[in-house]
């Protein structure tokens, strides 16, 4: 099972699309590793600097409809290759969310008010996420401030995370 802990990268905008996550010009790559340097290359967002912000991060927090646009699984892979295995947001585009769990990664929804609160408290600060999958609790820590937030994922999504993704799951079930 993958790690769902690490520094949080805050992307405070809705509708971040898959072209912004990994532009189409890199779809000619046939290995996941080759995508590593291009994650979020076309994302223009105040305060965000891909070179400075990506390498230290292990998790992403964002707003609504994250991952809309194309079906490219290159988007989760680009995160995976940068050791970011979890995205937390208000909502996700269907295919992106499915792709994340299919790769044994997580796309977790929290209520808009909770995201608001977390953004207000932690965005702009060095924030560490630790995920307890067994109890369904996130712990966010910045300096001496710490906050626990419960989360839910479906039984099936949990089975995918535990199986390391859909290929492993399907191969044992069908």
């Amino acid at each position: 099972m993958k790690s769902f802990n690490g520094k949080v990268l805050f992307l405070d905008r809705s509708d971040i699309n898959t072209d912004e996550i990994i532009p189409a010009r890199y779809l000619t790559e046939i290995t996941k590793e080759a995508l590593t340097p291009y994650l979020l290359e076309d994302l223009e967002l105040a305060g965000f600097d891909a070179k400075r912000d990506i390498a230290p991060a292990g998790a992403v927090m964002t707003r609504a409809n994250f991952g809309c646009g194309s079906s490219r699984e290159h988007a989760p892979w680009a995160f995976e290759m940068n050791a970011m295995n979890i995205v937390i947001g208000e909502s996700f585009a269907r295919i992106f969310k499915q792709n994340m769990f299919n790769c044994g990664m997580m796309a977790v929804e929290l209520a808009p008010a909770v995201i608001d609160d977390l953004m207000a408290r932690f965005s702009g600060r060095e924030t560490e996420l630790s995920t307890d999958l067994a109890t369904g609790v996130f712990r966010f820590t910045a300096g001496d401030e710490s906050l626990e937030v419960p989360f839910e994922i479906s039984e099936f999504d949990r089975a995918l995370v535990e199986a390391g993704g859909w290929v492993g799951y399907a191969d044992t079930h069908y």
């Binding site: 072209d19 000619t28 046939i30 809309c68 909502s91 299919n102 069908y174």
Partner: protein, 430 residues
């Protein structure tokens, strides 16, 4: 309680219900292209699982960048080509026979009402125009589809979009769907199937229905669906005439997939198109939509006519009617990509290609090309393109480039003037 089209299709294809509302369904077809399939193939090989569940149910095409533009795209093609050969995938379309997947596969008769189809491509929703459930998926879903012939989805929820009134001349399916996306928003149909119904849809050709369903994903929809009717049967007749004695018999069989009158929908949107005018996008999201008239005068550098949205014969006819006897503005580069070889040949026979060429258009081979900014008309930084495609994301047609989505008629009119233009000034319509 009655069922929607998607619910009926799922019910007839259900393999497993592992937990909650997750339904694993049997697939009638798995479609493949050279951008998302090579990674699936190499991953399956690495896992020691280089198998296919049924070579006759896998359809593959090299369409996004063809002929290859560099060594990397050549390698993508090679991987798919060798894989198709290795596994006896007969329905594989390469140079000379290839075209944009969502235009080519329906034309070959690979889609039937009630089918379940996945493809590693978000615009797979196009095939719902035939009353099928067709969804774009990522590479892992594609891998499992290729290997096992199944895919997992949440139980389908359906939103109903009823299109009433009558389209005025000069206003097309593209204008309707842009208007609908403007109303729904890019997230308005997420996790739902959009069932398009109403008199306007009933009167539409299969080509126009495909344009509608093609853009369901731009509102977040899993699939767009139109109920099968006589128009569907007429289109499919060359492929199904051995299966059914009469067209009526075919329609009766397909009608089992029509929605029940008491089917439950999550939401319903009624759009009266009587007053609808030509529409276009103005920003970097497909729900940023305005009447073309409000954007008129905005300069463009390129006009692109093609793609799985509007590169079909009907679209070429409409654009050619606007262009006939005229020439594109000297500051505009016009690019036409007929979506398939069959469309290309029809356009040649009908004299449409000549009209485009006389108007100063460059006519390319059938391919996705500039639509995704990989070849055949990539924009330079700061350039603007009026395009009949489906996505206007920042940089979609090239880094720093901007795209205005519109109908073939509006795009053709824009090519003539060099600024965004309503086609009615040339045709006297709308």
């Amino acid at each position: 309680m009655g069922k929607t089209i998607a619910e009926k299709i799922f019910e007839s294809h259900l393999v497993d219900n592992p937990s909650g509302d997750i339904q694993v369904i049997r697939l009638d077809s798995v479609f493949c292209h050279e951008i998302t399939t090579p990674v699936a193939i190499t991953d399956l090989q690495a896992r020691g699982m280089d198998r296919v569940f049924d070579p006759s149910k896998i359809k593959a095409v090299i369409d996004h960048v063809t002929p290859a533009k560099d060594s990397k795209t050549a390698m993508q093609g090679k991987i798919v080509r060798e894989w198709a050969l290795r596994h006896g995938i007969i329905d594989f379309f390469d140079i000379g026979d290839n075209g944009v997947c969502h235009a080519l596969f329906p034309e070959k008769g690979f889609v039937r009402p009630g089918y379940t189809i996945i493809m590693g491509d978000s615009h797979t929703c196009t095939h719902g125009a035939f009353g099928a459930f067709a969804a774009g998926v990522g590479t892992t879903d594609l891998e499992v589809g290729i290997l096992k012939g199944v895919c997992a989805f949440h139980a389908p929820q359906t939103m109903k979009v009823v299109i009433t009134g009558e389209l005025v001349p000069g206003v097309y399916a593209k204008d309707v769907i842009l208007d609908v996306i403007g109303r729904l928003g890019v997230n308005g149909a997420t996790n739902r199937v959009i069932e398009f119904t109403g008199p306007v849809v009933d009167a539409m050709s299969m080509e126009s229905r495909m344009t509608l369903c093609n853009m369901a994903i731009e509102a977040g929809g899993t699939c767009g669906i139109c109920a099968p009717d006589m128009t569907t049967v007429d289109y499919l007749w060359p492929f199904i005439q051995d299966e059914f004695k009469t067209k009526e018999a075919a329609l009766e069989a397909y009608s089992t997939f029509a929605a029940d009158v008491d089917a439950e929908y999550t939401d319903e949107l009624v759009v009266d198109v009587a007053g609808l005018v030509p529409m276009a996008t103005f920003g970097y999201k497909p729900d940023q939509v305005k009447p073309v008239a409000e954007l008129s005068g905005e300069r463009v550098d390129q006009v692109y006519i093609g793609s799985c949205t509007n590169g079909r014969i009907e679209d070429l006819r409409v654009a050619a009617a606007v262009l006939e006897g005229k020439h594109v503005h000297p500051s505009v580069r016009g690019v036409l990509s007929p979506a398939t070889p069959t469309i290309y040949k029809m356009a040649l026979k009908e004299g449409l290609i000549e009209i485009f060429m006389d108007a100063g258009f460059c006519v390319t081979n059938p391919t996705c090309g500039a639509c995704l900014g990989m070849s055949n008309g990539v924009l330079a930084e700061g350039e603007v393109c009026a395009s009949t495609t489906n996505r206007n994301f920042n940089g979609r047609m090239g880094k720093g480039g901007m795209v205005h989505l519109m109908s073939p008629a509006s795009a053709a009119a824009t090519a003539l003037t060099g600024v965004i233009t309503n086609s009615h000034i040339f045709t006297g319509e709308a």
